[in-house]
């Protein structure tokens, strides 16, 4: 039980820590107040508790597929706000761009923390009626959360201590990873509830990296790894990354044209 708890909690905490450390580092480097990020984190934890304790009502929605719909929507919204965050670098008006940036960061963190936090709370709540299982599950969750948070702290200090160019590169790769992971998760959830029809998988890499193994779960959290992806999953993943790349390419070439802008 302990290992399962470690894997589940680690997967959720790593996803949230990546987003939080990325935005915290951005605030640190751009001189923006970090209070908003911490407030968003608090808000996210609060809404995660609310979400978890109202899960039965949410699940009943739309003939029992409410939870999947809400989770998939959160994934799509996090992706959308990551895109908005990137797009704020394009806007020429610095004041409105900063406001939009803060909004994208706050909403992104709140949504991500709500989803990841609620998953952990629901998992733990499931074992409260079995004291002999709750103990290993709780310890497993603590270990998973500890590793995930430590990972986030290292990423944060890495981002703020390397050169600006390197931190931009690492930050950009992180945005790509998180965005891809979000889209992949959303498609998986929609496939589960048959909103997207199941298709024959394009390949099966479970012999190489099993989805249920620790590595598989970590890769799921980091890049949305799926051992047997369907064509629609692969297409959505590629299109979502292409959108971000296109946006970044536009930014890069604009800066090349206007070096003093």
């Amino acid at each position: 039980m302990l290992l399962n708890a470690v894997i589940l909690t680690l997967r959720e905490v790593i996803e949230a820590s990546l987003i939080v450390s990325l935005f915290l580092a951005f605030c640190q480097l751009s001189g923006q107040p970090k209070k908003t990020i911490l407030a968003a984190l608090f808000l996210g934890l609060l809404s995660a508790i609310l979400y978890a304790f109202n899960i039965s009502a949410i699940s009943q929605w739309q003939n029992g597929i409410g939870q999947e719909i809400v989770n998939a929507s959160i994934c799509f919204l996090v992706y959308l706000f990551l895109l908005i965050f990137l797009a704020t670098f394009i806007k020429s008006d610095p004041k409105s761009s900063k406001q939009l940036q803060s909004l994208a960061m706050v909403v992104g963190i709140t949504l991500a923390t709500t989803q990841e936090g609620a998953e952990i709370i629901l998992y733990l709540l499931g074992f409260t009626f079995s004291p002999e299982l709750f103990r290993p599950v709780l310890f497993g969750s603590l270990i998973g959360a500890g590793i995930g948070l430590s990972f986030g702290i290292f990423i944060y200090y890495l981002l703020i201590n390397v050169s600006k160019k390197s931190s931009l590169r690492i930050g950009f790769i992180m945005i790509l990873l998180i965005a891809g992971s979000m889209i992949m998760q959303a498609i998986q959830l929609l496939t589960q509830i048959d909103w997207i029809s199941s298709q024959y998988p394009l390949w099966d890499s479970s012999a190489f990296i099993n989805e249920r193994s620790l590595t598989g779960q970590l890769l799921y959290a980091l890049i949305g790894y799926e051992a047997t992806p369907t064509p629609i999953q692969v297409i959505s993943y590629v299109v979502s990354l292409m959108l971000i790349l296109a946006l970044s390419a536009y930014l890069y070439f604009r800066d090349q044209r206007q070096p003093n802008a």
């Binding site: 039980m1 270990i143 990972f151 702290i153």
Partner: protein, 443 residues
Amino acid sequence: MRSIRLYLLLSLIATITLVNFVSLLHGYQSSMEQAQQLFDSRLQSMAKLIAAANHDQTERAPLPQQQTPYVFFQIWDHNKKLIIRSSNAPSLSLSVLTPGFHDVNYESYRWRNFIFHDELSQRWIVTAERSDIRYSLAEQVVLKSISPIILGIPVAAFIIWWAISLGLRPLRNLTEQLKLKQANDLSPIIIEHTPTELIQVVQTTNALFSRLDDAFQREHQFSTDVAHELRTPVSVLKVHLHNLQTTFGDNNEELNLLRQGVNRMGHLIEQILALYRAAPDQAMSKFCTIDLYSLAQNSIATNYGLFEEKQQTIELTGEPSPMAGDQFALETLLHNLLSNSCKYTPVGGQIVISVESSTAGVNLTIEDSGVGIPSNQYVRVFERFYRLYDDQYNSETIGCGLGLAIVKHIVELHHAFIELGQSKFKSGLKVTINFPIEANQPW
């Protein structure tokens, strides 16, 4: 702001957590494997023990008493016919009777069984144990050993926080000493048990303070000497000029020009000295509570002759506004602003001074109906020796281009803000100075 303490605290706790937890997971997996091996060998011993203790060759009813519901046994004869079993054991074989360990399903549970072939009596002994119970028992044992490590992390975090605070104490001490230093306090910093990393910083800072102190003292001595050396001949010149005017009369044009020149030289010396005293680096910052309103009243009274000479109307509005400030510096500021207003306002013009106090601070406003300053010159007029309307007013008024530079120094000394603008009259200048309350503290 990046904090060294937070960085050390978080990175150390993160490292300890990461290393500990990853090793803990590794240890957990190894311990669980070891525990499973231990359970397997127990199952094996149990089968051999049953074979040695029981020699039945004919079928018997299941044993009525069952000690542990999670363990069962079966004894099969060489024809694979069940001889005896524990009451909770199935009457069928759960797997092919081949010696060794097998994982089978029975009664909605996963069971681990061991099949032993008793060569002596040609029987098959099957012992089985519920896998989930084995796993749970093993996990409980392993958890006992790993829980102190998990619970120890907050304790480690507290000890690390305390150790870092202790380690950073000399640095905090140095920061505190530098923060509390007055602008004119150039005494060396003293830190007990200076750590190796700070020795160079303390030594260099103290050497810098010492050199600064010497330089300031030399400068002070120099300005005192210069003031004395220049003031004395100017005073002597004024006495001789007075004597000459008595001899030749007041209408001698050359003597009047000479008097203007001597007065301008005297004014220049006084302004240079005022600039020196008002410079933030040199100001002694003897701040005390001053009522800016009564200071403005006094300043108007002192300079009243100037306004009277030009038949100007001067008006003071406002209320008593106490604030922290340097009296001499503020007197100089008011004098310079008032004399500027007088100088650039025509005969019969108007000058309005207002001193108002609010929660944000004290506001001083001086408006005149003079020629004003073009908005594109607002920044330049604060430069030293910069003179506006040089040609127009040079011959009539005493000025050296230092007045507003001194005002700016005094404003900076009080951490205040100055703003120039258009006065409420048809033409003229409006000077607004805001002395904020929170910034208006001694250095």
